[in-house]
Subunit: 333 residues, 2 copies
DNA sequence: TTGAAAGCGCTAACAA
DNA sequence: TTGTTAGCGCTTTCAA
């Protein structure tokens, strides 16, 4: 009925708890006779070791890694978090490990004592926690954030260059009046993408107009008014680079609602290659595909390797992005 | 540098470990003077309580619930698992709890000693684990599985009636040669959906043809050959009810590839309203929308209520589905 | 090959 | 209001 402990098993099997422990931990120095008795007792009593106790006594952690996801609004509704979670999930499944998911803005701490390593999905708001994990000497991988300043591994994409690619593409199509709708500046990602936009313009000696930079937050809602502002300008842009597909799709919507043709009047390019957004797009969206899933799988593998001491902690990986042409951008005549 | 324990804090603050414990647990009976000293020491040493030890000593579990996901091929790639995970994630986030995810086919057990309650995403292959959780007296909710035989809560949709709706819809459109591609029979869901199909035909006195029932496994790949078999029959069906959108989309593909028009020659209806599948569908797919996300959120809330002792354990909820007409079915002349 | 016993870091009586 | 101390369930010496 109730949960049995190692003492119950020892009593049932007629051996000491030490022997039970040895059987549970598959140590060899147990006579077959006793081993059988213990295994029988374990089965009969449906005994499962208390993992907390195992952890405490052994100072080992049992096959669990932690995933820390920043808690900003709707994070769990975002394609981003879900893809990373999925990737980590897939990898963890393969490694037959458990996954402890902690979603926080930094005010609560992951139960560090129950994991063998930690993965951060970005570090927004969780910088303190990153420090703590590092100080504790726990293996640690940060996803979607590139840093050389911290003694950790990271897997990321080159948001800066990917954005340059997007804007260069628009420029190659003949555009020079190019606006951007940015992501949430709490994230490094948003900053990098804006910088990519700026530098691309600079390299082509295209004037940067303040009014062409609209500050969004990655989410659909934020793009609505910003797009309206853009199309109502006396000198509206002929192209928009949105820092997320969600925003790009909303931008398309707003354009169409207001009689602005896409890509006839305005070309729009997104970022993410987010199928959930694409599905709701009135027009096939040209965008930058980023390998979030792969990023997460790699992060998990690296973490595992570090835990297994197969590699040192500081592995930094940049994954390539890809421009996917679909139909929301056109060449100017 | 290394992880500090309660004794280190006590020494640093010049009090006993009991006092530190009291401060950590926000008990009142600590003089402000000592409390301040302890809090300072905690900050200075970056002390975080060892949760395993807390659990052991207090017999409480700390704010963590377990989610057990069946490990069948590609489960983590399925829309189903991801939606449920997302729903649970959203709810857990709101409750500021941690989530321990365990993916298993029954051969490994969730670290039961570190959670306050358990949610099962279906119980395929994990029946033994369900029993164990129940015996251990842990609060437990099963998603996507309806049972009255177990003393647990569950949240599910009525797959049987939803399938009847789908087939009735086809019948209303004038179809009588209706085939089905089923899901994986390891799941109750697949069985219920087939039964809905069968009973709908029966009620309308439409002959059930064995050859019209094709046994798939929910996944895209499985629908390919089965659809070919259907369209190559001397008497091919005029409509197909697929037990998942993934399969429905693949069925559409196969039809088009073989010169069979959809919905001209064959109407196809899916199940799930899975945006990832819909996005890749050559034709807007008519389907049954099921509230997976909501199901997961509710399951988590129920679990929390049971843990908080706000309600008894046996709450059973059936959520409604909805037929979404899009364009892959047509009325026969 | 076994068992006794000392912890692991913490909580919760109980005593002071 | 504090400190002392006995466990929580387990692992791991150390002896036998």
């Amino acid at each position: 009925m109730s949960i049995k402990n190692i003492r119950d098993v020892a009593r049932e099997a007629g051996v000491s708890i030490a022997t039970v422990s040895r059987v549970v931990n598959k140590q060899t120095s147990v006579k077959k006779y006793n081993k059988d008795k213990v295994e029988l007792a374990i089965k009969k009593l449906k005994f499962r070791p208390n993992v907390s106790a195992q952890r405490m006594a052994s100072k080992r952690n049992n096959n669990t890694i932690g995933l820390i996801i920043p808690r900003y609004t709707n994070i769990f509704h975002s394609f981003y978090a879900l893809q990373l979670l999925q990737g980590v999930g897939v990898a963890v499944e393969r490694m037959k490990m458990d996954l402890l998911v902690h979603i926080t803005n930094g005010d609560t701490f992951l139960n560090i004592s129950s994991v063998e390593g930690v993965i951060f999905a970005d570090i927004v708001g969780n910088e303190e926690q990153v420090d703590y994990v590092i100080e504790a000497g726990l293996p640690c991988v940060i996803m979607n954030y590139y840093t050389k300043d911290l003694p950790v591994s990271c897997t990321a994409i080159d948001n800066f260059n990917a954005s340059m690619d997007a804007v260069n593409y628009l420029i190659k199509l003949g555009h020079s009046k190019i606006a951007t709708i940015t992501g949430d500046f709490k994230t490094q990602v948003a900053i990098d993408r804006l910088n990519g936009y700026l530098i691309a313009l600079e390299k082509h000696k295209i004037e940067k107009k303040k009014d062409y930079i609209k500050y969004g937050d990655f989410e659909r809602e934020s793009a609505r008014d910003l797009t309206k502002e853009l199309i109502r300008m006396k000198m509206p842009p002929t192209a928009i680079f949105a820092a997320s597909d969600e925003m790009a799709v909303e931008a398309i919507r707003v354009c169409l609602e207001n009689g602005v043709s896409v890509p006839g009047d305005i070309s729009i390019i997104g970022f993410d290659d987010n199928p959930l957004a694409l599905n709701y797009s009135p027009i096939p969206l040209t965008t930058i595909r980023q390998p979030l899933h792969k990023m997460a799988v790699m992060a998990t593998k690296i973490l595992n390797d570090v835990i297994q001491k197969k590699i040192r902690a500081n592995k930094r990986i940049i994954l390539p992005t890809e421009l996917v042409e679909r139909g929301s951008c056109r060449a100017l005549d």
